[in-house]
Protein backbone atom coordinates (compact mmCIF):
# COMPACT_ATOMS: atom_id res chain seq x y z
CA UNK A 1 0.00 0.00 0.00
CA UNK A 2 1.50 3.36 -0.93
CA UNK A 3 2.05 5.89 1.84
CA UNK A 4 -1.17 7.82 2.27
CA UNK A 5 -0.10 10.74 4.36
CA UNK A 6 3.57 11.49 3.94
CA UNK A 7 6.49 10.14 2.02
CA UNK A 8 8.85 7.88 3.93
CA UNK A 9 11.80 9.45 2.16
CA UNK A 10 11.39 12.92 3.59
CA UNK A 11 14.81 14.37 4.31
CA UNK A 12 15.29 14.92 8.01
CA UNK A 13 12.83 12.24 9.04
CA UNK A 14 14.62 9.53 10.97
CA UNK A 15 13.60 5.99 10.01
CA UNK A 16 12.26 5.51 13.54
CA UNK A 17 10.19 8.71 13.42
CA UNK A 18 7.15 7.18 11.78
CA UNK A 19 4.14 9.04 13.17
CA UNK A 20 1.82 9.69 10.23
CA UNK A 21 3.15 7.06 7.83
CA UNK A 22 1.11 4.12 6.58
CA UNK A 23 2.21 0.66 7.62
CA UNK A 24 -0.97 -1.25 7.02
CA UNK A 25 -3.51 -2.72 9.40
CA UNK A 26 -2.72 -3.25 13.06
CA UNK A 27 -2.73 -6.91 14.05
CA UNK A 28 -4.17 -6.75 17.57
CA UNK A 29 -2.22 -9.76 18.84
CA UNK A 30 -0.26 -10.28 21.99
CA UNK A 31 2.30 -13.07 22.05
CA UNK A 32 4.20 -14.31 25.05
CA UNK A 33 7.57 -12.82 25.77
CA UNK A 34 10.34 -15.45 25.66
CA UNK A 35 12.63 -15.88 28.66
CA UNK A 36 15.65 -14.60 26.76
CA UNK A 37 13.70 -11.52 25.76
CA UNK A 38 12.84 -10.83 29.40
CA UNK A 39 16.49 -11.36 30.26
CA UNK A 40 17.49 -8.73 27.69
CA UNK A 41 15.22 -6.21 29.38
CA UNK A 42 16.40 -7.19 32.86
CA UNK A 43 20.07 -6.79 31.94
CA UNK A 44 19.34 -3.39 30.43
CA UNK A 45 17.52 -2.33 33.59
CA UNK A 46 20.29 -3.64 35.84
CA UNK A 47 22.95 -1.76 33.84
CA UNK A 48 20.88 1.38 33.58
CA UNK A 49 18.67 3.57 35.66
CA UNK A 50 17.45 0.84 37.97
CA UNK A 51 20.98 -0.25 38.86
CA UNK A 52 24.51 0.52 37.81
CA UNK A 53 23.69 3.58 35.72
CA UNK A 54 26.46 2.70 33.27
CA UNK A 55 24.04 3.14 30.40
CA UNK A 56 20.71 4.92 30.15
CA UNK A 57 17.47 4.73 28.21
CA UNK A 58 18.35 7.72 26.04
CA UNK A 59 21.59 6.08 24.89
CA UNK A 60 19.60 2.97 24.05
CA UNK A 61 17.15 4.99 21.98
CA UNK A 62 19.97 6.75 20.19
CA UNK A 63 21.48 3.37 19.34
CA UNK A 64 18.13 2.21 17.98
CA UNK A 65 18.03 5.28 15.76
CA UNK A 66 21.61 4.75 14.66
CA UNK A 67 21.72 1.01 13.87
CA UNK A 68 20.75 1.63 10.27
CA UNK A 69 17.42 1.46 8.52
CA UNK A 70 17.96 -2.03 7.16
CA UNK A 71 18.63 -3.59 10.53
CA UNK A 72 15.90 -1.52 12.16
CA UNK A 73 13.33 -2.88 9.71
CA UNK A 74 14.62 -6.43 9.71
CA UNK A 75 14.76 -7.02 13.47
CA UNK A 76 11.84 -7.37 15.83
CA UNK A 77 11.42 -5.30 18.98
CA UNK A 78 13.47 -7.41 21.41
CA UNK A 79 16.17 -8.00 18.83
CA UNK A 80 16.41 -4.24 18.40
CA UNK A 81 16.51 -3.86 22.17
CA UNK A 82 19.41 -6.31 22.34
CA UNK A 83 21.21 -4.77 19.38
CA UNK A 84 20.94 -1.27 20.79
CA UNK A 85 22.05 -2.44 24.24
CA UNK A 86 25.03 -4.15 22.62
CA UNK A 87 25.97 -1.04 20.65
CA UNK A 88 25.79 1.07 23.81
CA UNK A 89 27.78 -1.32 25.99
CA UNK A 90 30.51 -1.62 23.37
CA UNK A 91 30.61 2.15 22.88
CA UNK A 92 31.03 2.61 26.62
CA UNK A 93 33.94 0.19 26.54
CA UNK A 94 32.48 -2.59 28.65
CA UNK A 95 33.46 -5.26 26.13
CA UNK A 96 34.43 -5.47 22.47
CA UNK A 97 32.61 -6.74 19.40
CA UNK A 98 35.27 -9.42 19.07
CA UNK A 99 34.82 -10.66 22.62
CA UNK A 100 31.10 -10.79 22.08
CA UNK A 101 31.25 -12.71 18.81
CA UNK A 102 33.69 -15.18 20.32
CA UNK A 103 31.50 -15.75 23.33
CA UNK A 104 28.41 -16.16 21.17
CA UNK A 105 30.15 -18.88 19.16
CA UNK A 106 31.22 -20.58 22.34
CA UNK A 107 27.75 -20.57 23.81
CA UNK A 108 26.34 -21.86 20.56
CA UNK A 109 28.82 -24.70 20.81
CA UNK A 110 27.85 -25.47 24.38
CA UNK A 111 24.20 -25.57 23.43
CA UNK A 112 24.86 -27.93 20.51
CA UNK A 113 26.72 -30.27 22.84
CA UNK A 114 23.81 -30.31 25.22
CA UNK A 115 21.46 -31.21 22.42
CA UNK A 116 23.77 -33.83 21.00
CA UNK A 117 23.49 -32.25 17.57
Amino acid sequence: MPPKFTNANEPGRGYHDIGGLDYGAVDPITTEVAPWEKLSIAIGNAMGGQGRKLINTDMGRRAREGMGEELYNELDYFERTTESMKITLIEQGLFTQEELEERMKEIEGRLSEVRGS
Binding site: I43, M47, R52, F95, E113, V114
Partner: protein
Protein backbone atom coordinates in the same frame (compact mmCIF):
# COMPACT_ATOMS: atom_id res chain seq x y z
CA UNK B 1 30.04 -35.98 32.76
CA UNK B 2 31.69 -32.98 34.28
CA UNK B 3 34.82 -33.61 36.29
CA UNK B 4 33.63 -32.37 39.62
CA UNK B 5 37.17 -31.42 40.65
CA UNK B 6 37.36 -29.06 37.74
CA UNK B 7 33.97 -27.58 38.42
CA UNK B 8 35.34 -24.36 39.75
CA UNK B 9 38.07 -23.88 37.20
CA UNK B 10 36.40 -23.35 33.89
CA UNK B 11 37.97 -22.10 30.71
CA UNK B 12 36.37 -18.75 31.36
CA UNK B 13 38.24 -18.45 34.59
CA UNK B 14 35.26 -17.67 36.75
CA UNK B 15 33.92 -19.53 39.71
CA UNK B 16 30.58 -21.21 39.86
CA UNK B 17 28.60 -21.21 42.99
CA UNK B 18 26.19 -23.96 42.08
CA UNK B 19 25.86 -27.44 43.44
CA UNK B 20 26.54 -30.81 41.85
CA UNK B 21 25.02 -31.20 38.45
CA UNK B 22 25.43 -33.24 35.33
CA UNK B 23 27.00 -31.93 32.13
CA UNK B 24 23.69 -30.91 30.58
CA UNK B 25 22.78 -28.75 33.50
CA UNK B 26 26.35 -27.50 33.68
CA UNK B 27 26.21 -26.30 30.10
CA UNK B 28 22.83 -24.74 30.67
CA UNK B 29 23.97 -23.14 33.89
CA UNK B 30 26.15 -20.79 31.90
CA UNK B 31 23.15 -19.73 29.97
CA UNK B 32 20.18 -19.11 32.15
CA UNK B 33 19.91 -16.83 35.11
CA UNK B 34 19.92 -19.43 37.82
CA UNK B 35 16.23 -19.29 38.46
CA UNK B 36 15.76 -22.86 37.22
CA UNK B 37 12.61 -21.87 35.39
CA UNK B 38 14.21 -21.51 32.03
CA UNK B 39 15.14 -24.18 29.52
CA UNK B 40 16.26 -23.20 26.04
CA UNK B 41 14.20 -24.83 23.36
CA UNK B 42 15.41 -28.41 23.18
CA UNK B 43 14.43 -28.74 19.56
CA UNK B 44 16.23 -28.94 16.27
CA UNK B 45 16.25 -25.29 15.33
CA UNK B 46 19.45 -23.41 16.07
CA UNK B 47 19.37 -20.78 18.76
CA UNK B 48 18.74 -17.42 17.19
CA UNK B 49 21.53 -14.88 16.94
CA UNK B 50 20.01 -12.37 19.34
CA UNK B 51 19.23 -14.98 21.95
CA UNK B 52 22.89 -16.01 21.87
CA UNK B 53 23.84 -12.37 22.08
CA UNK B 54 21.86 -11.85 25.28
CA UNK B 55 23.53 -14.84 26.93
CA UNK B 56 26.95 -13.66 25.79
CA UNK B 57 26.35 -10.14 27.04
CA UNK B 58 25.24 -11.50 30.37
CA UNK B 59 28.32 -13.67 30.78
CA UNK B 60 30.77 -10.97 29.76
CA UNK B 61 29.21 -8.39 32.08
CA UNK B 62 29.26 -10.85 34.98
CA UNK B 63 32.84 -11.93 34.38
CA UNK B 64 34.11 -8.40 34.06
CA UNK B 65 32.35 -7.42 37.24
CA UNK B 66 30.02 -4.87 35.67
CA UNK B 67 26.98 -6.54 37.17
CA UNK B 68 26.27 -9.36 39.60
CA UNK B 69 23.95 -12.32 39.29
CA UNK B 70 22.00 -10.93 42.19
CA UNK B 71 21.42 -7.62 40.41
CA UNK B 72 20.17 -9.39 37.31
CA UNK B 73 17.95 -11.61 39.38
CA UNK B 74 16.48 -8.60 41.18
CA UNK B 75 15.90 -6.83 37.88
CA UNK B 76 14.09 -9.94 36.63
CA UNK B 77 11.94 -10.03 39.71
CA UNK B 78 11.02 -6.38 39.35
CA UNK B 79 10.14 -7.00 35.71
CA UNK B 80 8.00 -10.00 36.66
CA UNK B 81 6.16 -7.87 39.23
CA UNK B 82 5.12 -5.49 36.50
CA UNK B 83 1.80 -6.90 35.35
CA UNK B 84 -1.44 -5.52 33.89
CA UNK B 85 -3.27 -6.94 36.89
CA UNK B 86 -1.72 -4.07 38.86
CA UNK B 87 -3.21 -1.54 36.51
CA UNK B 88 -6.55 -3.33 36.61
CA UNK B 89 -6.66 -3.15 40.41
CA UNK B 90 -5.88 0.54 40.28
CA UNK B 91 -8.64 1.19 37.76
CA UNK B 92 -11.16 -0.83 39.77
CA UNK B 93 -10.29 1.16 42.88
CA UNK B 94 -10.68 4.41 40.94
CA UNK B 95 -14.09 3.29 39.76
CA UNK B 96 -15.41 2.61 43.25
CA UNK B 97 -13.57 5.30 45.21
CA UNK B 98 -13.91 8.89 43.89
CA UNK B 99 -11.35 10.18 46.40
CA UNK B 100 -8.77 7.71 45.12
CA UNK B 101 -9.59 8.64 41.56
CA UNK B 102 -8.94 12.31 42.29
CA UNK B 103 -5.62 11.48 43.89
CA UNK B 104 -4.74 9.37 40.89
CA UNK B 105 -5.55 12.13 38.44
CA UNK B 106 -3.61 14.66 40.50
CA UNK B 107 -0.49 12.56 41.09
CA UNK B 108 -0.36 9.05 39.68
CA UNK B 109 2.84 8.02 41.46
CA UNK B 110 1.56 9.09 44.85
CA UNK B 111 -1.80 7.33 44.50
CA UNK B 112 -0.36 4.14 43.01
CA UNK B 113 2.02 3.75 45.89
CA UNK B 114 -1.08 2.55 47.76
CA UNK B 115 -0.64 -0.59 45.66
CA UNK B 116 3.09 -0.80 46.18
CA UNK B 117 3.83 0.37 42.65
CA UNK B 118 7.27 1.79 42.07
CA UNK B 119 7.42 3.29 38.59
CA UNK B 120 11.20 3.55 38.61
CA UNK B 121 11.56 7.20 37.69
CA UNK B 122 8.64 7.45 35.29
CA UNK B 123 5.96 10.01 36.07
CA UNK B 124 2.72 8.04 35.94
CA UNK B 125 0.08 10.29 34.45
CA UNK B 126 -3.50 9.12 34.56
CA UNK B 127 -6.15 9.98 31.98
CA UNK B 128 -9.85 9.44 32.36
CA UNK B 129 -12.13 8.31 29.55
CA UNK B 130 -15.56 9.91 29.74
CA UNK B 131 -18.69 10.25 27.63
CA UNK B 132 -16.95 13.19 25.96
CA UNK B 133 -13.36 12.00 25.56
CA UNK B 134 -11.62 8.78 24.51
CA UNK B 135 -7.93 8.86 25.37
CA UNK B 136 -5.50 6.67 23.40
CA UNK B 137 -1.81 6.28 24.18
CA UNK B 138 1.14 5.68 21.86
CA UNK B 139 4.88 6.27 21.62
CA UNK B 140 5.53 6.97 17.96
CA UNK B 141 9.31 7.05 18.31
CA UNK B 142 9.86 3.79 20.16
CA UNK B 143 7.41 2.00 22.51
CA UNK B 144 7.35 3.84 25.80
CA UNK B 145 4.66 2.54 28.05
CA UNK B 146 3.81 2.45 31.80
CA UNK B 147 5.45 -0.92 32.34
CA UNK B 148 5.18 -0.80 36.12
CA UNK B 149 1.39 -1.10 35.92
CA UNK B 150 0.87 -2.77 32.56
CA UNK B 151 3.84 -5.10 32.15
CA UNK B 152 5.79 -5.25 28.92
CA UNK B 153 3.98 -3.69 25.96
CA UNK B 154 2.17 -6.13 23.65
CA UNK B 155 3.21 -6.81 20.06
CA UNK B 156 0.59 -4.54 18.59
CA UNK B 157 1.65 -1.55 20.69
CA UNK B 158 5.26 -2.04 19.56
CA UNK B 159 4.29 -2.50 15.92
CA UNK B 160 5.14 0.05 13.27
CA UNK B 161 1.54 -0.07 12.07
CA UNK B 162 0.23 1.14 15.43
CA UNK B 163 2.98 3.66 16.13
CA UNK B 164 2.63 5.21 12.68
CA UNK B 165 -1.11 5.23 12.22
CA UNK B 166 -2.85 5.76 15.55
CA UNK B 167 -1.57 9.31 15.69
CA UNK B 168 -3.00 10.21 12.26
CA UNK B 169 -6.08 7.98 11.94
CA UNK B 170 -6.99 6.92 15.47
CA UNK B 171 -10.64 6.18 14.76
CA UNK B 172 -9.70 3.78 11.96
CA UNK B 173 -7.09 2.06 14.13
CA UNK B 174 -9.57 1.69 16.98
CA UNK B 175 -12.01 0.06 14.55
CA UNK B 176 -9.32 -2.55 13.88
CA UNK B 177 -9.63 -3.40 17.58
CA UNK B 178 -13.39 -3.56 17.24
CA UNK B 179 -13.87 -0.21 18.94
CA UNK B 180 -16.28 2.30 17.43
CA UNK B 181 -16.08 5.85 18.78
CA UNK B 182 -19.14 8.02 18.06
CA UNK B 183 -18.53 11.26 16.17
CA UNK B 184 -19.50 13.42 19.13
CA UNK B 185 -16.80 11.89 21.35
CA UNK B 186 -13.37 13.55 21.09
CA UNK B 187 -10.52 11.16 20.38
CA UNK B 188 -7.42 12.40 22.13
CA UNK B 189 -4.16 10.70 21.22
CA UNK B 190 -1.21 11.02 23.60
CA UNK B 191 2.29 10.64 22.19
CA UNK B 192 4.39 9.83 25.24
CA UNK B 193 7.91 10.82 24.34
CA UNK B 194 9.41 12.07 27.59
CA UNK B 195 9.29 10.86 31.18
CA UNK B 196 5.51 10.89 31.47
CA UNK B 197 3.86 7.47 31.20
CA UNK B 198 0.14 7.40 30.58
CA UNK B 199 -2.46 5.10 32.09
CA UNK B 200 -6.04 5.34 30.88
CA UNK B 201 -8.97 4.83 33.25
CA UNK B 202 -11.51 3.38 30.83
CA UNK B 203 -15.21 4.11 31.19
CA UNK B 204 -16.93 1.87 33.70
CA UNK B 205 -19.49 -0.21 31.84
CA UNK B 206 -23.16 0.09 32.77
CA UNK B 207 -24.68 -2.65 34.90
CA UNK B 208 -21.70 -2.98 37.27
CA UNK B 209 -22.92 -0.83 40.15
CA UNK B 210 -22.97 -3.64 42.69
CA UNK B 211 -19.77 -5.35 41.57
CA UNK B 212 -16.84 -5.88 43.91
CA UNK B 213 -13.40 -4.39 43.13
CA UNK B 214 -12.20 -7.86 42.25
CA UNK B 215 -15.01 -8.43 39.78
CA UNK B 216 -14.39 -5.03 38.26
CA UNK B 217 -10.64 -5.57 37.94
CA UNK B 218 -11.32 -8.81 36.06
CA UNK B 219 -12.91 -6.92 33.16
CA UNK B 220 -10.21 -4.25 32.92
CA UNK B 221 -7.90 -5.53 30.19
CA UNK B 222 -4.49 -4.13 29.41
CA UNK B 223 -5.69 -2.98 26.02
CA UNK B 224 -8.44 -0.95 27.70
CA UNK B 225 -5.83 0.85 29.83
CA UNK B 226 -4.09 1.99 26.64
CA UNK B 227 -7.41 3.19 25.30
CA UNK B 228 -7.91 1.03 22.20
CA UNK B 229 -10.80 -0.95 23.64
CA UNK B 230 -13.42 -0.26 26.29
CA UNK B 231 -14.27 -2.82 28.98
CA UNK B 232 -17.32 -4.89 28.30
CA UNK B 233 -19.75 -6.73 30.49
CA UNK B 234 -20.16 -10.14 28.86
Amino acid sequence: MVDEDKKDKTDHGHVHDHDDMDSTAHALEHIHDHDRQFQPDIEDEPVKRYELMVYAIRELLLEKGYVTQDEIRKARETLDSWQPSRGAQIVARAWVDPGFKQRLLADGNEAMSDFGVDAGGAKLTVLENTDEVQNVVVCTLCSCYPRAVLGLPPDWYRSKAYRARVVVEPREVLKEFGTDIPDEVTVRVHDSLADLRYLVIPKRPKGTDDWSEEELAAIVTRDSMVGVVNPQVS
